[in-house]
Symmetry: C2
Subunit: 184 residues, 2 copies
């Protein structure tokens, strides 16, 4: 069994025949998950390398931005009650644009390499389709985040445009922001 | 003198030598402009043909969305105290993306054909540059709004991508949304 394909109990069972092999579960976030979600978000926000969020975003502002209401959704990858990663999806635009979803994912650095970002993305694609969205668009994928770009491409997203020098990376300087898209 | 090039008193004076030729002024919005701004915004929002705003957006929500704080700015085209059109600019993203501006403009249907949209856009490009922005990006220009698309192109914007069928037009059905961009 490859850990990076595990998204829920039924998946791992189907591959191994035993629930003991489950490494994490992805499910909608609960209010009690917030401290664990913030522990994932805060270092990513403070680093300022992969998200277009102000690096000094407060916990309260982050909670307001990350926790989404239906048809949006906030979800977590959890193991033994610990939040390893989290994602959210929401309508990318209002009004006539509200059938296209947008999503974001963050994984704690201590839990990289387990396929959690891939599993969060896969979960969001299914959840977005179930919520009636027709497509998913990312507005600002940092070009220098090549692992993420390659991952999203492997999940079916294609780069529609790269906004030149639209992101000031703390160490790399100006890099592009990809607009990525796939139909659902 | 062409009305569609008039953006302020000094412009018209330089072309005609008389202040009597001024047809409108563009200046930062004041709190007292809000009723006039809302009179411009409401029919555009309700029509749902050109903006990705929920068509039932309330006046209070619209005010919160349209009125911007520095380095953003909300501005108006006014004649004899009447708001003919309005625009706003703001950072398109936070954090490392905050050097790229985004802007929007609305003109009242009763005052079309006077170059007000062009003048509002020109004003925003100068204001954005003055505020330190390095580029301006539009995220969602409705493809069927061909007059606006052509106007922005004539103002230096180019289409970087078209998100397919990303906007559900009330009468035309699904049309694309252009991502448009120019350096400042």
């Amino acid at each position: 069994m490859r850990a990076d394909t595990v998204t829920d109990v039924s998946h791992s069972n189907s591959e191994t025949g035993t629930a003991a092999a489950v490494t994490y579960e992805i499910r909608p976030a609960r209010a009690s998950d917030w401290p664990g979600i913030w522990a994932v978000l805060e270092p990513v926000i403070r680093a300022g390398e992969t998200f277009t969020w102000d690096r000094d975003t407060t916990e309260e502002a982050a909670r307001s931005k990350w926790i989404k209401e239906a048809p949006g959704l906030t979800f977590v990858a959890v193991r033994d009650g610990d939040v390893l990663g989290t994602g959210e999806l929401h309508a990318n635009q209002g009004g006539g644009g509200s059938h296209v979803a947008n999503a974001g994912y963050m994984v704690h650095a201590d839990h990289g390499g387990q396929g959690i970002a891939r599993a969060l993305c896969a979960y969001s694609l299914v959840a977005a389709r179930d919520a009636g969205f027709k497509a998913m668009q990312f507005n600002a994928v940092v070009e220098s985040n090549v692992r993420a770009v390659g991952l999203w491409q492997s999940m079916g997203f294609r780069i529609l445009a790269t906004i030149p020098e639209a992101f000031q990376h703390p160490t790399l300087g100006y890099v592009g922001l990809h607009v990525m898209y796939q139909e659902l």
